[in-house]
């Protein structure tokens, strides 16, 4: 009984996770600049691989594998925002252009504290 349930749950989580991965890939191709592409890659991409690892954790019968898969999910959820924030900060500091439809740039060069006004 519990095996039937875990089979159904694992299959559903696999499809959900790969659908998130596809959405992230479409977002990477369709969004206009690197800052908005980062939304797709770091949120939907991380969620996709995390959900598929949770599927593996549910499918695995022994405690060690389940715990390692869950530790991997926690690790990805911790590191993905750090790496993409660092990449966005580096791209912004170097001056890669934003999309021309961007409505708000909160750190334009002449608004920093101590700048001449």
């Amino acid at each position: 009984m519990i095996e039937i349930l875990s089979n159904y749950l694992t299959g559903a989580l696999l499809i959900i996770g790969s659908a998130f991965a596809v959405v992230a890939a479409i977002g990477i191709n369709r969004l206009p600049d690197v800052y908005s592409r980062m939304h797709a890659a770091s949120k939907a991409g991380t969620l996709g691989s995390g959900v598929m690892l949770i599927a593996l954790a549910i499918y695995a019968q022994d405690t060690g594998t389940t715990l390692r898969a869950l530790a991997g999910v926690v690790f990805f959820l911790l590191t993905a925002p750090i790496s993409s924030h660092l990449l966005a900060k580096a791209a912004y500091a170097v001056g890669y252009p934003m999309w021309k439809g961007t409505v708000l740039d909160e750190m334009p060069p002449d608004s920093r504290i101590g700048a001449d006004d």
């Binding site: 022994d62 690790f75 990449l87 999309w99």
Partner: protein, 110 residues
């Protein structure tokens, strides 16, 4: 074959097909660019897709030692993205530099 095993086998195949599509779309973005941060972002996304592949293969073969490989791959991907970000910061802007009056082309190229 019981219906739940059939469902699991079908979902594994569907997941592999969807992950392949995601992988190829991301490769297209990595190849196309147009800037270095776009390519770094694409490589980060490729690591996420590879982790998804590893999870599906681990379920399909029952060889759950693949979880350790997935964790190590995630660590390597994180460190690679951080190192690439430091590289972007250290290198400065060297691409898309056009003479005055032509910056609009860079901005419009998506």
């Amino acid at each position: 074959m019981r219906p739940d095993e059939l469902f699991l086998a079908a979902s594994e195949l569907i997941a592999l097909a969807l992950l392949s599509a995601a992988f190829l779309l991301t490769v297209y973005r990595v190849v196309r660019g147009p800037t270095l941060p776009d390519r770094i972002l694409g490589l980060d996304m490729l690591v996420a897709a590879a982790i998804g592949f590893i999870a599906v293969i681990g379920i399909r073969t029952g060889y759950t030692l693949y979880v350790d490989i997935a964790i190590a791959l995630g660590l390597v991907g994180f460190l690679a993205t951080v190192a690439f970000a430091r590289f972007v910061l250290a290198r400065g802007k060297t691409e898309g530099v056009l003479p005055p009056g032509r910056e609009r082309e860079v901005r419009d190229r998506t």
